[in-house]
């Protein structure tokens, strides 16, 4: 019996469905204090004065924090970027000025959340308004500065050049120019907002129950900011209601709960965001503008070179940025064999909510850009969308990209073929002809995307060579507990990805026992010591980083168990078999009735060790394994090196009809093909694929963070920022192919983020529907009101131009 590859029911679901999950906000005690965070209503303003006296005087208020407390008690968070980022001061509360709407300016801890809010609203803040800048290009003019000490809004600029770009352009048969493309701002709003409880006791130990999803990293930034050794910080999570990367950065504000707890003599303090706070002030996905794009193609429509200028808008504080200025390069050529690139990449701050590494982080934006290019070129050169892809797809694997990334495996043409069959491509093509005759706007679009998993943190050094990060790792501890039960601890702290289940599957196969006999601890706890500085759930990596750690730990445990069993049973290690006997999990000697069960093995090591001799001194039955993928530090000068270990792929096809009356893009058919190599648990993979598809469709049709010109977020509630619900979800047909990765022990590739496939696919389908109307799809958001505007303002002439010449005919 093997468990890997089966749709084992999720172990987590029993408790979650019964309401027995434990989320950060579920923690409750009567003596607990509740934190209210007062936030700036303005996007850019100087704080002239803060008067907290009325708040402090309200019965039930335990303490109030303002920027001046914070300045004394916190070291600004470490900035990842090179100069001038090092001049940026990022603290949990604004001190001298606010730079985005929703930025915390004060915090109140009180006996109840209601009292805390009442008190918060009694705080009088006097603001002096400053002009705000929300447009990234305008921000780069530096007329309005967010971080005056940095003297510029620009957080990053560099040129990524590979191959022979100028030569490719002079040899080109066609040059397609696209003057502007724009990837809009949205986020994958998790169901559970940010929350934590903090208790900073008088011995100086600080304990958090939280929903941070990248604890290994967060601890390294949070502890020094609070002037604590990491050892004094305990971070725990239990169930997390989704993160999608958004919860990587909640520690910035977890600090407030901690500081309030210390100020209140160590009482526990809970911070729990409301939805509007979450939408205004937690984290958005990166917004990106692509300017002056030029694409060189040969006479057959094969793309030979791309030049472009990209401006990434990271909102008010860089935080995880400017890492996103490099991360996109994991998928530089997308799924295409283009060898020559010149990408001029700039990032700027603006008076908007800071960005976070949201699902599909930075690669999705770039992949959308590449797909728009391929799609627009196909239309301009009258090459059918499927043929255009087939001409340009990478076909040989492993494939080294122009910037040194190694695509492990894949078969994009096979995915395209499968998706076409599934959706009935030929049938829809016929229906499209009929629809056009009737004046209906029906389009068919293809989106091919990549989900690069298990990243090499060395890429951070391309951005800032002084950063002390490279490689990647994950940790697993597996032990036989005092009673012989198998207990596994991980550093991943999942947020719905089913790690307890897939880990059990791997361990069950390795020990040849049933998954129900394995306990995988829920959540994260730094006290387990099962973490590294890379530990967390992010960047589509569990199936590789996490399960490789589990597999490695199993090998170490099995070696010890063989040694111990061999000694007790007087047998050779090679004669021993793992399995389940009458007394539970055991090792037995092949072909005999001699066996030793897990209870006795654990008993010998833990409570009965006079029976053992010195040869067994190293047998602890409690092993810790750190998985380290084989990475090197990239060449930071040339920006060259392998940035990610595995490349899962998705290919989606959508048929969309634009209702010419309501302007709603109706999805008539949708097929999604996934390739994440060896699938550990099909049901879990399907869940991830469905969720990623829903997030993408929601982003295209409904979800957009819209700011007005003074920096007010206009979509700050769920009735304005409408996240996709099941009512808006079309029927999606799912399929898969499997190209095992040669770089993971199990052939799996990291998956989960999904590469934003629906953004590429629906943009392409809408393009196909509207091309004949003189419209080029230049944006990633297509809500009905936006389509209405688009239909009334054809933009092809102003957006695209094609220069063609007959090559070789001179």
């Amino acid at each position: 019996m093997t468990w890997v590859g089966k749709s084992l029911q999720r172990k987590e679901d029993g408790r979650l469905i019964r309401g027995q999950g434990l989320f950060a906000d579920d923690e409750h005690s009567d003596s607990m204090l509740h934190l209210y965070i007062l936030r700036s209503p303005y996007a850019h303003a100087r704080i002239a004065s803060i008067d907290v006296s009325a708040a402090q005087a309200l019965p039930g208020v335990a303490c109030v924090l303002t920027g001046s407390d914070i300045k004394e008690q916190c070291v600004p968070y470490m900035q990842l970027g090179p100069a001038p980022c090092d001049k940026i001061v990022d603290l949990p509360l604004a001190t001298d000025k606010v730079i985005f709407q929703g930025e915390p300016v004060a915090a109140v801890a009180a006996d109840s959340a209601a009292i805390a809010m009442d008190a918060g609203l009694l705080i009088e803040v006097e603001y002096e308004m400053l002009d705000a800048v929300v447009d990234p290009e305008e921000a780069l003019e530096d007329k309005i500065l967010l971080h005056e000490a940095a003297a510029t809004n620009r957080t990053y600029h560099d040129v990524f050049e590979y191959g022979e770009v100028d030569k490719a352009f002079s040899d080109a048969a066609h040059v397609v120019k696209i003057n502007r493309l724009h990837f809009h701002r949205f986020a994958s709003t998790p169901v559970e907002n940010n929350a934590c409880t903090a208790e900073w006791n008088q011995r100086g130990d600080l304990d958090f129950l939280c929903n941070n999803s990248f604890a290994g990293f967060s601890m390294q930034l949070l502890a020094p900011s609070l002037r604590l050794p990491v050892e004094k910080l305990r971070i725990r999570s239990y169930d997390i209601g989704g993160s999608f990367g958004v919860k990587i950065w909640n520690y910035v504000y977890m600090a407030l709960a901690a500081l309030a707890s210390r100020k209140c003599g160590g009482r526990k303090v809970k911070w729990s965001e409301t939805r509007t706070e979450h939408l205004q002030g937690s984290g958005h996905g990166n917004e990106r503008t692509f300017l002056d794009t030029e694409v060189a193609l040969d006479k057959d429509g094969v793309i030979t070179a791309i030049k472009s200028r990209h401006i990434d808008d990271c909102g008010a504080y860089p935080r995880y940025e400017p890492l996103g200025c490099i991360i996109w390069a994991q998928v530089l050529p997308a799924t295409y064999g283009v060898r020559n690139f010149r990408i001029d990449f700039t990032q700027t701050v603006t008076n908007k909510c800071p960005v976070v590494p949201n699902r599909g982080y930075s690669r999705m934006q770039h992949l959308w850009f590449m797909e728009r290019i391929v799609d627009i070129c196909a239309h301009e050169l009258a090459i059918p969308a499927d043929e255009m892809r087939l001409k340009n797809y990478i076909r040989e694997f492993p494939y080294e990209t122009p910037n040194g990334c190694i695509y492990d495996s894949g078969n994009y043409p096979a995915m395209l073929e499968k998706a076409k069959q599934m959706i009935d491509w030929d049938g829809w093509k016929q229906k499209q002809i009929e629809a056009r005759e009737q004046g209906r706007l029906l389009g068919i679009g293809i989106g091919t995307t990549l989900d690069s998993g298990t990243n090499n943190f060395g890429q951070a050094q391309i951005m800032n060579p002084n950063l002390p990060f490279s490689g990647n790792s994950e940790v697993c501890i597996i032990c036989l507990d005092l009673d012989g039960s198998v207990v596994v601890s991980l550093g991943t702290g999942p947020s719905g990805q089913g790690h307890e289940t897939t880990t059990s599957q791997v361990v069950a196969d390795e020990l040849n026992i049933d998954p129900s006999m394995i306990t995988v601890r829920t959540g994260f706890d730094s006290a387990w010591n099962a973490f590294s500085g890379h530990s967390g759930t992010y960047a589509s990596q569990f199936a590789v980083s996490g399960l490789s750690a589990v597999y490695g730990a199993c090998q170490k445990l099995k070696a010890q168990m063989r040694q111990l069993a061999g000694f007790m049973l007087k047998a050779d290690a090679a004669e021993l078999e793992f399995g389940v006997g009458e007394e539970g999990p055991q090792l037995s000697v092949k072909g005999t009735d001699k066996s030793i069960n897990y209870w006795f093995m654990s008993n010998l090591v833990n409570s009965n060790n006079a029976l053992l001799d010195d040869s067994l001194a190293d047998v602890t039955l409690n092993v810790r394994h750190v998985y380290r993928p084989p990475f090197e530090v990239p060449d930071t000068e040339k920006k060259f090196g392998n940035l990610t270990l595995t490349y899962a792929a998705q290919l989606h096809i959508a048929v969309v009809e634009i209702d010419t009356d309501t302007c709603r893009p109706n999805i008539l058919a949708y097929a999604a093909i996934d390739d994440c190599g060896k699938v550990i648990n099909p049901q879990i993979v399907n869940g991830q694929v469905a969720g990623g598809t829903a997030h993408g469709i929601g982003a295209v049709l409904m979800e957009s963070f819209d700011y007005d010109e003074v920096g007010n977020l206009l979509t700050a509630t769920f009735s304005d920022y409408c996240p996709l619900t099941v009512m808006n979800m079309p029927d999606v047909q799912y399929g898969s192919i499997e190209t095992p990765s040669p770089f993971s022990y199990n052939g799996a590739k990291g998956m989960g983020e999904g590469g934003g496939a629906p953004l590429h696919t629906l943009s392409a389908a809408i393009q196909d529907a509207l091309y004949a109307e003189g419209i080029i799809v230049t944006d990633s958001h297509h809500s009905a009101p936006r389509v209405f505007e688009r239909l009334r303002a054809p933009n092809r002439e102003a957006t695209v131009s094609v220069e063609s010449r007959r090559v070789g005919a001179q």
């Binding site: 959340a113 209601a114 809010m117 009442d118 609203l121 409301t274 509007t276 009356d661 309501t662 302007c663 709603r664 049709l701 409904m702 819209d706 206009l714 979509t715 769920f718 009735s719 304005d720 409408c722 996240p723 996709l724 619900t725 009512m727 808006n728 809500s783 009905a784 009101p785 209405f788 505007e789």
Partner: protein
């Protein structure tokens, strides 16, 4: 997201509620299903001193369809109405009741609250315009009946007097040969409509005997599009008449730009939904069963 402190009172009878409201005065608000009021309080758009909960007043949620006139108690929830015999008999009522928000809201929100809100995005006032409804009220000066026309005076303002509450709504059963449709276009279930259009047509021998057209979310109040009705009445629903009615509906509306879309976009939706609602109403008037639910973006 917590309301400012307030005193809570639970009334057992209409008289008690009216008495409490009159006694407390300006700072008091009626609490029914709470689906509009609680959001307003939580966002601190309003900070009343007292809430008078009428939610437990007995028998105020009854639906009586025995006679020619249908009476709906103010406390009848959207879901109660949506699952009632009248929703089955009068499909436009089902369109409206079952299209409001999501189940959670429909389980608690009441028709009385919807009408009392004076919110142009609330569906019931628009529907009551379509069905020529009346509002039954009771206040310190006793009971009175108001016409739905003119009841919503301005944004969030109604003709209710201080301490007066709505006790019920009523409208005549549509005549035989009458059919209606209530069409909405909205971003998602828990969002208010971008535009709503209600149409009720009585058709005899292929001719429109009478028509009612009302618009929701199309201005500061619900709007009765009388000029659009006039385009249809007496005609036979030819394409030209329908287009003219749609144009007249657009002309009657006064939409504004917001996150749901620009005023121009909304005008296009008004024209579209008017035509769609007429088409469904026509088929229903002819005895056909037509499914109709909100269209989401």
């Amino acid at each position: 997201m917590y309301p400012a402190p307030f005193q809570y009172h639970r009334a057992k009878t209409v008289d008690e509620a009216v008495g409490l409201l009159a006694g407390i005065g300006e700072g008091a608000r009626v609490l029914a299903g709470g689906q509009s009021l609680l959001a307003i309080l939580k966002l601190r758009f309003d900070e009343p001193t007292d809430l008078v909960d009428i939610g437990r007043i007995a028998n105020l949620d009854q639906i009586d369809d025995a006679g020619e006139v249908i009476n709906i108690g103010a406390l009848a929830t959207h879901n109660r109405i949506g699952a009632s015999a009248i929703a089955e008999a009068i499909p436009i009522v089902s369109d409206c009741a079952n299209g409001i928000a999501d189940n959670q809201v429909r389980n608690l929100g009441t028709i009385g609250g919807s009408v009392a809100s004076g919110d142009p995005s609330c569906d019931w006032p628009t529907l009551l315009h379509t069905l020529d409804g009346e509002i039954l009220c009771q206040g310190p000066d006793g009971a009175r009946t108001l016409d739905i026309n003119g009841f919503v005076e301005d944004l969030y303002q109604t003709a209710l007097k201080p301490a007066e509450i709505i006790t019920g709504l009523r409208f005549k059963k549509p005549a035989a040969g009458s059919g209606g449709a209530y069409c909405t276009f909205k971003r998602c279930a828990p969002a208010y409509p971008t535009i709503a259009v209600g149409v009720q047509l009585t058709i005899r021998n292929g001719q429109v005997d009478s028509s009612r057209i009302a618009l929701g979310s199309a201005g500061l109040t619900p709007i009765r599009a009388s000029a659009a009705e006039a385009e249809l009445t007496g005609g036979s629903l030819g394409a030209d008449e329908i287009n003219k009615a749609a144009e007249a509906a657009v002309a009657a509306a006064d939409p504004y730009d917001d996150r749901r879309g620009s005023a121009e976009f909304k005008r296009q939706l008004i024209a579209t939904l008017t035509k769609r609602a007429i088409a469904i109403a026509q088929r229903r008037a002819g005895g056909e069963t037509v499914k109709n639910s909100p269209e989401y973006y």
